[in-house]
Amino acid sequence: MTYKEQITAAMSLLAQDDRARFVGYGLANGRAAGTLIGAKPHQIVETPVAENLMTGVAIGLSLSGLRPVVYFERCDFILNALDAIVNHLSAARHISRGEFWPAVIIRVVVGNRSKPLFTGRTHTQDFHLALSRLVDFPVVRLSPDRDILAVYETARQAQERGDSTLILEYKDYL
């Protein structure tokens, strides 16, 4: 399978759970660059381009027992959502002394540097190092040699336990 086929298969795997919700923008029509073809319409939560909102909505869905995956079409844009990710998603279990364990899979696309063109400084930044220092859950990079289905299966199981995972994919490989 190609890189994109593996990601598409991973999304379809997650979508098999009826509690899965895909939250973000570019999902209802673009279907996250065609990778959400396995998701049912009711599993798509299309949001405005308001990254903190969509992440917070995902946290709220998780508090209510659903299994949200929030989608960032560029890593650059995740900076708008750091309050929800760092101060809320990552901190909740600690500050609530274990009362609340929101768990979200955060899917992040790092923009293309060369294929088919360079999309510019603020569409190609890869903040994986900074992100891994800001949150207390795994930050995983999908290089072409990774078993992508296995990464998402691990993230799915972690979410079931109440743990979040942030997974970066690279448009140059798509």
């Binding site: 009711h42 939560v45 949001t47 405005p48 308001a50 903190n52 909102l53 969509m54 992440t55 917070g56 909505v57 995902a58 946290i59 709220g60 869905l61 998780s62 508090l63 209510s64 027992g65 659903l66 949200p68 309050d83 929800a84 101060n87 809320h88 500050i95 609530s96 002394r97 009362e99 609340f100 929101p102």
Partner: protein, 210 residues
């Protein structure tokens, strides 16, 4: 719980703070008892309440026992009172709960549930873009949520005129937002005691500061 009960509760916390028992930040409530009692007549036990840094009254009025709230405060959790069984959630990050509350309300609507979500913010949080995003999302999707702006004309210690150049409030044109005004009886943080008047022993600081 009456207005007198609420006031007495915060006076007890103030006394413990003055005695040096609470070596951490507290935000005491006061001056809005009647308004909150009226609002909470419409809040049912199954509803979600999202509170903020000033959470004591909300917690008490949503049915968390006073002894439990006081124990949490005295354990350093004044800003972090949570209860899954009571559906009570807080954040001390300005406007931080608004979008999370929307997610909870979205699930209720999708399921066809009858619960409601109540999200309490100050007029400081109202200033923030995260509040705006959440209100628009809730309004457009007609989510079962009410944002309550607790307007004490004070963002930490700055009034509306000073920070916005006008006293006119923003006209939120949606039934999802309500506002009440009040005059706070305590300062933003602390218990309103003279600076330096509270001494914390080394032992108590060691026990709590982590």
């Amino acid at each position: 719980m009456t207005a007198s009960d609420l006031i007495a509760f915060e006076q007890r916390i103030k006394a413990r703070f003055a005695a040096g028992e609470l070596p951490f930040l507290v935000h005491l409530s006061g001056g809005n008892e009647e308004q909150l009692l009226e609002i909470f007549r419409g809040v049912t036990p199954g509803d979600w309440v999202f509170s903020n840094h000033r959470s004591h009254y909300h917690a008490l009025l949503h049915g968390i026992p006073a002894s439990q709230v006081e124990a949490a405060i005295c354990n350093g959790d004044s800003m972090f009172i949570f209860s899954k069984s009571r559906r009570f959630y807080t954040s001390s990050i300005l406007a931080g709960t608004c979008c999370i509350a929307c997610g909870v309300a979205l699930e209720i609507k999708e399921r066809g549930g009858h619960e409601k979500v109540w999200c309490f913010v100050g007029d400081g949080a109202e200033d923030n873009g995260h509040f705006y995003e959440a209100v628009r999302f809730a309004d457009g999707r007609d989510l079962p949520i009410t944002f309550v702006i607790e307007d004490n004309d004070r963002q930490v210690d700055t009034d509306h005129m000073t920070r916005w150049g006008t006293d006119e409030r923003f006209p939120w044109q949606t039934s999802k937002v309500m506002r009440y005004h009040y005059r706070a009886t305590f300062p933003h943080g602390g218990a309103g005691l003279p600076p330096g008047s509270v001494k914390f022993s080394e032992e108590i600081v060691k026990r709590f500061v982590r």
